[in-house]
């Protein structure tokens, strides 16, 4: 038996682990720097606030930032059943960054499918209502692997900024998701505005909500303003404060946990 047998074994292990997961919510945007990890972590925190059991799987192998957003780091622990996910006040978290710390992770495509399958299937998630998957930029191996592994239970939340370039890239992701039959939850418009000079400005441009929904054939689930304290103040603390930033995530979590806003391609 060949390497195909090894892959078959991994896929079986993933399937078994996935049986304990209610819904998989993939968060992607295609373009780097639009705030995918921030939205994934903010969504996970907001879902957990309502008492849901939530796991976060960081698939950004080369640029893992979920551990920083959620305040966890190496070392990991294991037992006979597998790897224990890091606990971040109610969330269960797994990321390549929890193995590598600040080390760079150079890796070609060949090994990524197996790595992603191992990372998910070796983690003892327990029963989860939601697994939030932070997708990396681009449409390469990690993204395609996530579609393959989680497709049957997954829906996709797109993240973009109002920048015309980001909108163009996220549109490509939308097209791909439709082709692959992935259920689309909707779009998060991140960094849509910011408070400055005593008023509200739109540093990345002003997106017309209706035009955006028409372009992406998806509902805008939430608008999240630029929050300069992200990365300085703990994300959980920022989401505890009342304001447009936390309101955006509350609105997103409500839509994801309900049926409102769901659209199938």
């Amino acid at each position: 038996m060949s390497d195909a047998a090894a892959k078959e074994g991994l896929l079986l292990a993933v399937k078994k682990r996935l049986d304990d997961v209610g819904k998989v919510v993939m968060v992607g945007g295609g373009k780097g720097g639009v705030g995918k990890s921030l939205v994934a972590c903010g969504l996970a925190i907001s879902l957990a606030k309502s008492g849901a059991k939530v796991g976060v799987l960081d698939l950004d192998i080369h640029g893992a930032s979920v551990p920083e957003y959620l305040g966890v780091g190496p070392p990991l622990e294991s037992d006979a059943r597998g790897l224990k996910p890091k606990r971040a006040k109610g969330l269960k978290v797994m990321s390549v960054g929890l193995f590598t710390g600040s080390r760079p992770v150079p890796m070609r495509g060949d090994d990524k499918e197996a790595l992603v399958a191992q990372l998910f299937s070796l983690t003892v998630w327990g029963r989860l209502d939601y697994l939030v998957v932070d997708l990396p930029p681009g449409l390469a191996d990690e993204f395609l692997t996530a579609l393959k592994l989680f497709g049957r239970k997954a829906s996709l939340v797109l993240v973009t900024t109002p920048s015309p370039i980001a909108l163009k890239v996220v549109g490509r992701l939308r097209t791909l998701a439709r082709g692959e039959g992935i259920s689309l939850r909707g779009v998060v418009l991140n960094m849509s505005s910011m408070r400055a000079l005593g008023g509200v400005i739109h540093p990345l441009g002003r997106a017309d909500r209706g035009a955006l929904e028409s372009l992406l054939e998806a509902k805008v689930l939430a608008e999240v303003p630029f929050e300069p304290r992200v990365g300085v103040t703990e994300l959980r603390a920022l989401l505890r404060r009342r304001g447009e930033f936390s309101d955006g995530f509350t609105s997103l979590a409500r839509t994801v946990s309900g049926t409102e806003g769901n659209e199938r391609p």
Partner: protein, 142 residues
């Protein structure tokens, strides 16, 4: 330490392939890069094989050698060089097991490019051609 979960995963695969038929011979390959304790793994498989379908089944486990090559300079090396490099891994990156600490590669062997470099030129653009996976090498049904 997670030999039991590895054993379970391979036996799940065996059960699926056997489709209810009994097992006569089971051959498993364990990649050297996984740094699995072969005896512990074999023991774990035997414990799980005590159920129905495995009566009288013969088990063969072999460790498959890992081989590495550098895409930059073309040099080739074996696991011994990797062990040397891993011995310098800081404790903070080792996974805490109940009675020991393990290299991350014990769990995620495919992550080798983050921890291993070409011993000759130092490049991280390297390739492990073999010895990085757990694989069902042979299965003879009754």
């Amino acid at each position: 330490m997670h030999e039991l979960s590895l054993a379970q995963s391979i036996l799940d695969q065996v059960a699926k392939m056997a489709g209810g038929r009994g097992i006569r011979v089971l051959e498993i390959g364990v990649g050297e890069l996984m740094q699995v304790d072969r005896k512990a793994f074999e023991q774990a498989v035997k414990v799980l094989m005590s159920g129905p379908g495995f009566e009288g089944a013969a088990l063969r486990v072999r460790v498959e050698k890992a081989s590495f090559s550098c895409r930059r300079c073309g040099s080739k090396w074996k696991m011994a060089d990797v062990r040397k490099q891993l011995s310098g891994l800081p404790d903070s990156l080792k996974v805490r097991e109940p009675e020991d600490r393990a290299s991350p590669l014990h769990f995620l062997p495919y992550l080798y490019t983050a921890f291993v470099r070409c011993p000759k030129c130092g490049s991280s653009d390297i390739y492990a051609g073999s010895g990085k996976e757990l694989v069902l090498r042979g299965l003879i049904l009754k």
